[in-house]
């Protein structure tokens, strides 16, 4: 019990983790949770503690058990899971010793929970006012006291507090507003501890910045301790006082934020930190001047769905061997633009010229050669492969259709897989036998098999964990080195600053800024770009080997992130 796991630092509270220390709000001691009936350990022997007014950032990739840990703090277990060891103390209460009734009193009053997706966590059939007031469940309060408290907390999260707003249903709010309601709902009972489960996933960076700011000021003002669960190291580095890193159910690192960032002890933490794309605002090399006709020229393009206009007057060009990033938040029209280029979105007007020839709106009216030379990689690798076909057939299908029957099909498959850094033996697998990163590599292999000149990448890393994202980005760099042009569509400005030669910033269907990455990142002209750069969370790394981090290390040949393991 008194022994901490080897690579866990004991900070704040020492080995004796009972809440004897003044100000310790949460203390978890040797917690182990298993899944039934497999008996797999979802959380293995985890110990952490959080002090009043401080935020613990709990970082881990998907499947690391971080959400299960978060829910355990409210004594909530998902179906078929069971606590088999350890203690959780909130304040002076041992959660295991509480009755059902005491658990109910604990929730919302001592510990509150902010869910990942408020869209599904707010009850669609109840008005906001009702959902907020019932969270207070304190029988000593009168009706008007409850109403006053609800209005007060709404003002604190910068939402309207009038009667009309309280009578709204969740679907009548924007994503950011829904998340604010969820925050208000958590703080309305003035809890001692608040558990935040990836509360900004799916929000745009500007909205994310506002929500994070709200969370920060609320915890400070209320003196609440926070557990912030996230996969995003940059956000956590920005927000948290302490950082704990989880990997496959184990706590591999725990310490003060600046200590973890400057001197990570565990290999996995180091890899995680280095995989986060650094927002580079300076030190970009000027891309070589490209003369001659660009490979792809978009001029005065406008597009829409039905009567809604999504894009207006888009001018953009991609030269051979160049990587142009298209940066925009959700709803900016970036996917519409990339799909228009691929011939998947038909409702557009304006110039779209590829290698001197105009492109038809529909892929079906383009020549086979044009379709071969422009290939598209989709956002979600879990949906982009036909689950009924072997990898081999996924690659050969387009090849046969666009190039012709190959003399040596095995060679085609092997070469394509090799370019995507996968072994040839993967050809016999079905998609369900691949991890997310491997699937995305297969998608890339399928696209490059036909030897295209332009690869359109639509948010291809956003569904992947950061460590996998770093590998995919590295792969794209090598493809570009082979002379392939990339149109890289993303919402992540840090990624852009590391991969692109030129960048176009798309805001509400218009390009507000367009230039070389060096120019745009170091001296942004448009207000929107400046806000984007300012709102993107970032952190500095100073530990030895840190320059290998994605971005700075890329120029150093052969010393990418993969060399770590």
């Amino acid at each position: 019990m008194t022994e901490q796991p080897e690579n866990t630092r004991a900070e704040g509270s020492t080995a004796d983790s009972r809440p004897s220390t003044e100000g310790t709000v949460l203390s978890v001691d040797g917690l182990t949770v298993i899944g039934r009936p497999s008996d797999v350990e979802i959380i293995s022997d985890v110990s952490v503690s959080v002090n009043r007014g401080e935020i613990l950032g709990l970082v881990g990739e998907s499947g690391s058990g971080k959400t299960t840990l978060g829910l355990t703090l409210l004594r909530h277990l998902k179906r078929a899971t069971e606590i088999v060891g350890g203690r959780v103390w909130v304040g002076r209460q041992d959660l295991a010793s509480l009755s059902e009734r005491q658990v109910r009193e604990l929730r919302g009053r001592a510990v509150a929970y902010i869910p990942q997706s408020p869209a599904s966590a707010l009850n669609p059939a109840l008005r906001l006012g009702d959902q907020l007031s019932e969270a207070l469940h304190d029988p000593t309060l009168t009706r008007s006291e409850i109403a006053d408290r609800v209005r007060e907390v709404l003002r604190e999260v910068a939402l309207p507090d009038d009667h009309a707003f309280l009578r709204r249903y969740p679907h009548q709010l924007s994503g950011g507003q829904q998340q604010r309601v969820a925050i208000a709902m958590a703080f309305v009972g003035r809890p001692d501890l608040i558990v935040l489960d990836e509360p900004t996933t799916g929000l745009d960076v500007t909205t994310q910045a506002h929500v994070l700011e709200t969370i920060r000021s609320m915890t400070r003002e209320y003196g609440t301790a926070g557990v912030y669960i996230s996969h995003d190291m940059a956000v956590v580095a920005d927000l948290a006082d302490d950082i704990a890193v989880m990997y496959r159910g184990e706590l591999v690192e725990h310490g003060r934020a600046d200590a973890v960032l400057s001197d990570p002890q565990h290999e996995y933490t180091r890899r995680l930190l280095m995989a986060v794309p650094l927002l580079r605002t300076s030190g970009h090399e000027e891309p070589p001047a490209r003369d001659g006709e660009p490979l792809l020229r978009i001029s005065g393009l406008s597009a829409g769905y039905g009567r809604t206009q999504v894009l207006e007057g888009i001018d953009l060009s991609v030269s051979p061997g160049e990587c142009v990033a298209l940066l925009g938040e959700s709803g900016s029209g970036k996917t519409t633009l990339s799909r228009s280029v691929a011939g998947l979105h038909h409702q557009f007007a304006g110039g779209l010229v590829f290698d001197g020839q105009a492109l038809a709106t529909s892929s079906y009216r383009r020549t086979a050669e044009q379709r071969r030379r422009i290939q598209y990689v989709f956002q979600n690798p879990y949906e982009a492969l036909n689950p009924r076909k072997r990898v081999r057939d996924q690659i050969l299908g387009p090849y046969r259709h666009l190039v012709g029957r190959p003399d040596h099909p095995d060679l085609v498959v092997a070469q394509a897989l090799e370019r995507a850094t996968l072994p040839a033996s993967y050809g016999e697998r079905f998609p369900e036998q691949l991890s997310g990163g491997e699937r995305q590599r297969v998608c890339i292999a399928r696209a490059v098999a036909t030897r295209p000149d332009l690869l359109v990448c639509d948010e291809i890393t956003s569904a992947l964990d950061v460590s996998v994202q770093a590998e995919i980005v590295k792969l794209l760099r090598s493809l570009q080195d082979d002379g392939m042009a990339l149109l890289f569509v993303t919402h992540n400005i840090a990624l852009v600053s590391n991969i692109a030669d030129r960048v176009a910033i798309l805001n509400q269907g218009e390009i507000v800024e367009y230039g070389t990455v060096g120019q745009v990142m170091s001296a942004p002209e448009h207000e929107y770009t400046r806000a984007l750069i300012a709102d993107t969370p970032d952190f500095e790394l100073s530990f030895p080997g840190a320059p290998e981090r994605l971005g700075l290390g890329l120029e150093q040949e052969g010393r990418g992130v993969d060399s770590g393991a």
Partner: protein, 294 residues
Amino acid sequence: MSGPSTSTTPTAPVRRRTGLFRTAWRFGRTKVGVALAGLIVLIAVVGPFVAPYTPTEFVARPFESGADGTLFGGDNRGRDVLTRFLWGGWTLLLLAGASAGLGVAAGTVIGIIAGYRRGWVDDVLMRTNDVLLAFPQLIAALLVMSIIGPKVWLIVAVIAVSHMPRVARVIREATRKVIEQDYVKAAEAIGLPRGRIMAVEILPNVTSPLLVELGLRLTYSIGVVAVLGFLGMGLQPPTADWGLMINENRQAMAVQPWAVALPVTAIAILTVGANLITDGLSRAAIGIDRGVEK
């Protein structure tokens, strides 16, 4: 403990998920269903070869129970109940199988086309569907039968047509889910012909709901064929048919229950068996929770 293995290291291939049939077979109810349905199919197929008499031979007085040389007595005309029971199954199976097969096939084609092509094609097909759906299945069959007269091909056609819109609706929904997946868009981006996309990319990915529908429609078909016979609108005398047997002998249920009880029990066991198999398939297709999440 080592760091996470990079995805590029070749690892032992992950085992593929087991197929639909194998997964379904793991449920006890599927096995029971196969046993029940198998028993009745066996009776229906082997029955005519082992029957003691011919189905139209008179061996007893009408509704005579316990007549000499009969196990279950005579029916309304004095024919051997056992013989007629053994002969009466295969017509039901054949008609039900044919109508379910045809209806599901037609419904699948319409469902995939409507789901994939959208626009006016979808509108026209689905509005037509709505009109067809506005008839309760049995009423539509009765209306047509009463006008044209009970003919074998008509029974199959009417039941198949009444299945079609229901199957089409399910398959259209399944298709909609499939075409939202990017692999269909990937095929469009390389200009694969629409027909091939439907056959190669969409059809293999709607087989799970398809099989479930087939099982469901087969169960319904058995019911509708039987009820048409029972109402006297199916196969006509002197054919030996389970539905018709019930119709002919139901007046004397109290004195000679066997002539009704045998076919009724057989139909009940057959439909329960078929539905148990369907349920096993659908459980395998939906994938009920296997315990551990995250």
